[in-house]
């Protein structure tokens, strides 16, 4: 149900209802009745052909087919993901987490070797006090490193393809139409959202899905339009690609993701990810800049991980923004925002969050309806789950920061994990906490719950006490080849 209110109201929450400004009037979608629903012949516009848009299109078409609905899905994506460099790239570290690889396989989406740049079976934690390897529980390649586009700047050819292009192709294979024209604006025709292309002719849709990234500028489409969109709060991260070659990459990084916990202000953590011929460096923290990146690249731990000549062969870099707080309630009647344009996971598993929000929105649209009330009842709980989990994630990262700052705590952490990894059949509580924190394999609430286990606390404190005595670097860990 839509009620018309006097104009001039500020947008936000109103007694639990979503507000949508249309022209000079503000409508409240109370939406308890599912008067708005997809039917055969309904048209859906998806703005953005990254993972969130492709997942949504794939699943909404799949589920609609299962229930006998014949709907039309148009994906608006001007970029060509087969281009090298920034033109075809969505700028992220891009790891497909262990649970997501499994869930996609269960959905029938298997990531082929032509898309996966390297299968990952372990993490190597680097600190100034030593290194330690954390293996996957089954010693199986269940994490995938991928490039979002075809590959870094300067490349001419590659035997791999980008993840985003692959997913978009799957969505098109399900029946979605790919429209490569740039959108000029989003409007409202009185009862339905409209998308206006360069030809200036608006197209009306029954449902508009925002699936764009925070770095695309697509949010400007909504500026001054009928649909008010509150952009999520972001912070700046850093990604840098080093050309190493497959053989050297194998020797230096192997099939491990290398995590660094250096004590550098504003840097939460850093990682090096092996990908085909490249090593991708990702820095996460508070508004990362070149000065901070240079500080990290001077650390011994980082320099030991790459061949010296490769460090000077950096070929592509960017400072993408990350969604860290989410937008407001990301829906209204006939409108929903998913993935990065809505609410995502803090720092980790952005593609996993894109999958889950896209799937929840698709299920809501087909089975429940497309009113604000339908999205509030069936889509918003998934987003709220992320928001709650991110709050605990901040606690987990604060605890990590406390350990980063104190050498004795770093030594205690290293000893705890090393001992766990050495003993066969031992309870690997700390290893699992670190594994799930850095891989994004489990919600932060589970990581947090595990940290409260008395056995973990006692073991860690014991090793911290031992760590207070000085010892040779790496005596409890391992070293790089």
């Amino acid at each position: 149900m839509i009620e018309c209110l006097p104009s001039g109201l500020r947008l936000g929450r109103c007694r639990g209802a979503s507000l949508l400004q249309v022209g000079k009037e503000v409508f409240v979608g109370t939406g308890r009745e599912s008067s708005l629903a997809l039917e055969s012949g309904s048209r859906v516009a998806v703005i953005g052909g990254g993972p969130a848009g492709s997942f949504f299109s794939y699943f909404v078409l799949d589920i609609a087919y299962r229930v006998g609905l014949d709907i039309q899905v148009d994906i608006y994506e001007p970029r060509n993901f087969s281009s090298f460099g920034p033109a075809g790239c969505n700028m992220s570290g891009c790891i497909i987490s262990e649970p997501l690889v499994q869930m996609l396989a269960a959905e029938g989406i298997n990531l082929p070797p032509g898309v996966v740049r390297r299968g990952i079976d372990s993490y190597l934690l680097h600190m100034d006090v030593g290194n330690v390897r954390i293996e996957t529980p089954l010693r199986e390649m269940r994490i995938a490193s991928v490039h979002r586009g075809a590959g870094p700047r300067g490349m001419k050819e590659t035997k791999w393809r980008g993840f985003d292009g692959y997913m978009l192709e799957l969505a098109v294979g399900k029946g979605a139409n790919l429209i490569s024209n740039r959108i000029e604006g989003v409007t409202w025709d009185g009862s339905r959202p409209q998308v206006r292309g360069r030809d200036g002719v608006p197209k009306s849709y029954d449902l508009l899905v925002g699936a764009f990234g925070v770095n695309t500028g697509a949010q400007k489409l909504f500026e001054g339009s009928a649909i008010t969109y509150l952009a999520p709060a972001t912070t700046k991260s850093h990604i840098r690609e080093f050309l190493i070659g497959e053989e050297s990459l194998d020797r230096y990084l192997g099939s491990s993701i290398h995590i660094f916990l250096p004590h550098i202000p504003r840097l939460d953590f850093a990682c090096l990810i092996p990908k085909g011929d490249f090593a991708t460096m990702c820095l996460l923290g508070e508004d990362i800049d070149e000065e901070l990146a240079q500080s990290f690249m001077k650390t011994r731990e980082f320099r030991e991980c790459l061949p010296p000549e490769a460090i000077s062969q950096e070929c592509c870099r960017c400072y993408p923004r990350l969604n860290i707080r989410g937008t407001g309630e990301p829906y209204a009647d006939r409108v929903v925002f998913i993935g990065d344009s809505g609410i995502t996971r803090l720092y980790k598993d952005g593609i996993g969050a894109a999958y889950r929000t896209a799937k929840a929105a698709a299920v809501t649209a087909v089975f429940h309806g497309i009113s604000a009330g339908d999205f509030r009842d069936h889509y918003w709980p998934v987003c709220q789950g992320f928001l709650r989990d991110n709050r605990l994630g901040r606690v987990v990262f604060t605890a990590t920061e406390l350990i980063q700052k104190r050498r004795f705590a770093r030594r205690g952490l290293l000893r705890t994990v090393s001992n766990e990894q050495k003993k066969k059949g031992a309870q690997r509580r700390m290893s699992m906490v670190l594994w799930d924190t850095f891989t994004g394999s489990a919600p932060y609430r589970e990581v947090f719950k595990r940290t409260l286990h008395p056995g973990l606390t006692a073991g860690f404190l014991g090793n911290v006490a031992i760590g207070c005595w000085p010892s040779k670097r790496g005596d409890s860990g391992e070293h790089k080849p």
């Binding site: 589920i63 649970p99 499994q102 869930m103 029938g108 990531l111 299968g119 390649m141 269940r142 799937k359």
Partner: protein, 122 residues
């Protein structure tokens, strides 16, 4: 492309799952072929040959019975495991995740019905 493949590598003749063993995961074949064989009274019969994209061991996701058949690699096979706990947790959050597995199981029941009818007619 070996380093780019997901899952675990099995050599020719390796038993990926063994009849009678407890199972707590499903497998998805990423590359290669595998045969499904069942032993009855010391006699082994081949039930099916699986290939890339096929799943097996999915019954272990829903019941706690022993594996009903052995799956053996025909040449090199790469198979990815899907844990019962991970799968069921996600199905609890999103029941539509089970659609495809139910579709596969439904197809197997249809195939079994057809096979039974064929044997009874013959």
């Amino acid at each position: 492309m070996e380093m780019s493949a997901l899952g675990k590598l099995y050599r020719d003749g390796d038993e990926i799952v063994r009849q009678g063993e407890a199972g707590d995961c499903m497998y998805v074949i990423q590359a290669g072929r595998a045969e499904v064989v069942r032993s009855e009274a010391g006699r082994e019969s081949r039930l099916a040959v699986l290939q890339e994209g096929d799943v097996f061991g999915e019954m272990a996701l829903f019941d706690r019975e022993k594996r009903s058949a052995t799956v053996r690699a025909l040449g090199e096979v790469r198979a990815l495991t899907v844990d019962r706990k991970t799968f069921l947790r996600h199905v609890h959050e999103d029941p539509s995740l089970a659609f495809r597995i139910l579709q596969k199981m439904s197809k197997r029941i249809r195939d079994l019905d057809a096979e039974l009818a064929r044997r009874q007619a013959g």
